[in-house]
Symmetry: C2
Subunit: 151 residues, 2 copies
């Protein structure tokens, strides 16, 4: 057999990993669209989320945002520049350490973020079970693969 399309039987672990990534991308796509529709660039949304969602007592600096977003400092500076220019965010000089800039979400930013937060929570309530299911399958197949490796 082995039709033109399926020259070989795809590894089930591979298939479930592919499914996981597809689910992730679907969610990210939803998130990007939601941000755009709310008038934000996706990265701006993520910036606002990490700034507004930082736990109490955190010094929300450029460096903090960079780490949470997985970006380099300079990329974060530019993202903050753009967001500040659009009135979503404000820099405040840290009195205790004048090198640092403390970030705060403006009222405008909060308003937009609020909408996005609601829709994301809804979406994640659907995605959650789906992701959990795939993750469980991954662990099953991963164990099968590693035990097969031993023998």
């Amino acid at each position: 057999m082995s039709s033109q399309f399926t020259a070989e039987g795809s590894d089930p672990l591979l298939t479930v990993l592919a499914e996981f990534r597809f689910a992730l991308r679907s969610f990210l796509h939803f998130s990007e669209c939601a941000a755009q529709e709310a008038g934000l660039h996706p990265q701006q949304h993520q910036l606002l989320l990490q700034v507004a969602g930082a736990p109490r007592g955190t010094a929300v600096t450029i460096a903090y945002a960079a780490e949470r977003l997985g970006l380099r400092h300079n990329s974060t500076v530019e993202l903050v520049d753009r967001s500040e220019r659009e009135g979503l965010l404000a820099r405040t000089e840290d009195a205790a350490d004048k090198r640092r800039a403390i970030l705060q979400v403006t009222r405008k930013g909060k308003k937009i973020l609020g909408q996005l937060t609601a829709s994301h929570a809804r979406e994640l309530n659907e995605l959650g079970p789906r992701l959990a299911k795939v993750l469980k399958q991954i662990s099953v197949h991963a164990e099968a693969a590693s035990s097969a490796e031993i023998q």
Copy 2:
């Protein structure tokens, strides 16, 4: 009170959403690094995964890959071009429909993908429980928020 750093108490739903996105980005960062170390661009890894991990009987065309990767067709063409040039992937003309290109991962591509698959399965076995925990918290806070909205 209200120190300079925490002008206001952050919403718990916001915090847990931020935590979720941070967890996602951390995983994606791990994945990107793993791909780079294996000599692939992250997108190439994703392409190989979706091609090799497609369920049996799927016609793995450019359009299929584009949909799975969340990219436009033309972007996918370019990604396939680059990957083919590096010997990771091969195009085969579909005999039944000469417009279509059927994609297959080469032996070289499979070898690299195999390594990445193993390390990703391991990483996801750690990430899984962490994500599940955060997703559960999201649903709790989301419900609290929406029921508060009703009253």
